[in-house]
């Protein structure tokens, strides 16, 4: 079982973002970076599958600047065997261009399964996985909340609005991973040491034309400051009055 996992380096989100002077990106000063949340679930799912089988290889791939190698090293320290860095600085916002670069790399790689997080937590498009699948002409399930593979076949579950669906597909396939599939492990010290010696290949990303760009980035309008109406049950009548007369939601 040979599994590729496509991951992305993203800023940690628990900060107040500032807009860069260019007006088209966030100011990266002081930001901390990590693997995108859903990509962590995908790496973990891949590792668990190969561990369960007792054989196989997990290869992690990223499109990004030099610093994205830290994210690849993290995946290696979790247990991936090797890494491929497709250099692009900055990462274009065009999900087709990124999918094109990934497909060019993955094509002919002999992967049984290609995993993605269901979306990157920064650009939040959820499109690169399914577009890559189209370019490779592979079956695809987006946002799987459960995934199992056996005997050249995969089964998955997807959450819908107030419902769910179960799916079946042949391998090789592309699957993007939702939360719930696997909680990512923390790299062990041994894993971190071993990761330093694992192969990390660097090549330029074959992005092609970029047809989707960010023309501006802005902070959303601030919410007007809220009011604490009071303490305990005594404040309930005032809350109900405001919900009726001011917010008009009751």
């Amino acid at each position: 079982m040979k599994i590729a996992v496509c991951i992305k380096r993203v800023p940690e989100m628990d900060v107040r973002f500032k807009i860069a002077p260019s007006g088209t990106s966030v100011d990266e000063t002081g930001l901390k970076w990590d693997m995108s949340d859903f990509d962590g679930y995908a790496v973990e799912a891949a590792l668990q599958m190969t561990e369960k089988l007792g054989s196989g290889e997990v290869v992690v791939v990223t499109v990004g600047p030099d610093a994205a190698q830290e994210t690849l090293r993290k995946a290696l320290s979790m247990g991936a065997a090797r890494a491929i860095h497709l250099k692009a600085d900055p990462i274009p916002f065009d999900n087709f261009a990124i999918a094109r670069a990934l497909a060019a790399e993955l094509q002919g790689g002999g992967y049984d399964l290609i995993l993605f997080g269901k979306m990157s937590i920064d650009s939040s498009n959820g499109a690169v996985g399914p577009i890559t699948a189209e370019l490779l002409n592979l079956p695809c399930v987006a946002a799987a909340s459960k995934l199992e593979v056996a005997n050249g076949k995969g089964t998955a579950r997807r959450e819908l609005e107030g419902a769910a669906e179960l799916l079946e597909f042949p391998l090789p396939a592309v699957v993007s991973i939702d939360e719930g599939v696997a909680r990512p492990r923390y790299p062990s010290l041994k894993g971190i040491m071993a990761a330093k010696k694992k192969p990390l290949e660097v090549k330029p990303a074959q992005l092609g034309d970029v047809r989707m760009t960010v023309s501006t980035m802005a902070l959303p309008p601030e919410r007007p400051p809220g009011r604490i109406l009071g303490d305990g049950v005594a404040a309930v009548p005032e809350l109900v009055r405001l919900l009726q007369t001011e917010a008009k939601v009751l």
């Binding site: 800023p11 989100m13 973002f17 966030v26 859903f38 916002f93 999900n95 087709f96 920064d122 650009s123 939040s124 498009n125 959820g126 996985g129 399914p130 577009i131 699948a133 189209e134 370019l135 079956p139 695809c140 987006a142 946002a143 909340s145 997807r158 959450e159 819908l160 609005e161 107030g162 419902a163 669906e165 179960l166 597909f169 042949p170 396939a173 939360e179 047809r211 989707m212 760009t213 960010v214 023309s215 980035m217 902070l219 959303p220 919410r223 809220g226 604490i228 109406l229 009071g230 303490d231 305990g232 049950v233 404040a235 309930v236 809350l239 109900v240 919900l243 917010a247 939601v249 009751l250």
Partner: protein, 328 residues
Amino acid sequence: MANNVLAFAESRGGDLRKVAYESVTVARVLADATGGDVHVVVAGPPGIAAKAGALGTYGADVVTVVEHAAFADYNPEALSALLADRAKSGGYRVVALIASAQGKDLAPRVAGKLGVPLASDLTTVRLDGDKVVGTHPVNTGKVIATVTLAANPAVVSLRPGAVTAAEKPRSARVETAAPSGDPAASRVKVTQTIAGNTAKLDLGDAPVIVSGGRGLKAPENFKLVEDLAAAFGNAAVGATRAVTDDGWRPHSDQIGQTGRQVSPNLYVAVGISGAIQHLAGMRTSKTIVAINKDPEAPIFKVADYGIVGDVLEVVPALTAAVKAAKAH
């Protein structure tokens, strides 16, 4: 011809979904800007054609219906092939979908088949000369990106609820068409659609959401949240990640960065401290109410109205007061 817009009308179980009308409204607005027509594709099991006429009410000029038994469940490969083939044949300016659970899976496949990027989960969209411009929340909603798409056709998906379906009656021509290829031959097959509780409002559709966190102290106290939701009558129940991780509530109820992102008219946060992770899922709600015993809880920074107190006392009192207000 190149001013026309192609919309996808989503269905489930042989019925159109609410988002089907939203996508027609999006297409109508874009088409009106340049004097184009709105063409809509509907696919479903035999019988779906009877529902197609309703799309004219929202501004469809032509509705193409494809009936096939293999469209009874979601059929991503056959649907994306159908939409992409339609888009190619018609010389459309824009292909519009809604970023529902189905749309999030379908839209990028259509874009991939057409060889173009996808402007996904937009909250607004407009034409700007030969480009399409949309706004899209990024970085868990803390930043709004304005995205410019220079591809033809432009494939866009709109966030559910971002556009309100508006009646704009046209005498829609309904025509039937054959699928692209054999829908029964798809490699990816839905083997079962598990219906949820249909009486239960989905978090994405509910005008009011009452959500509970660790401050409820024990899973059985979620009854208080459910009672308050029932008092509103049009409310769904949500939860924080802490609570779903502990198994108090199903994962599908989780609101936050890695769960559902919602923007109801009213969001009531019960015993929720307001971790960044949670705020990412609900900060765009129109009105936010917070009930929490800790006056320093970050949830009070985003709440329009706050009550400091024990949720086990305040919530039953609020439930009674809401019931009384509704009775008037």
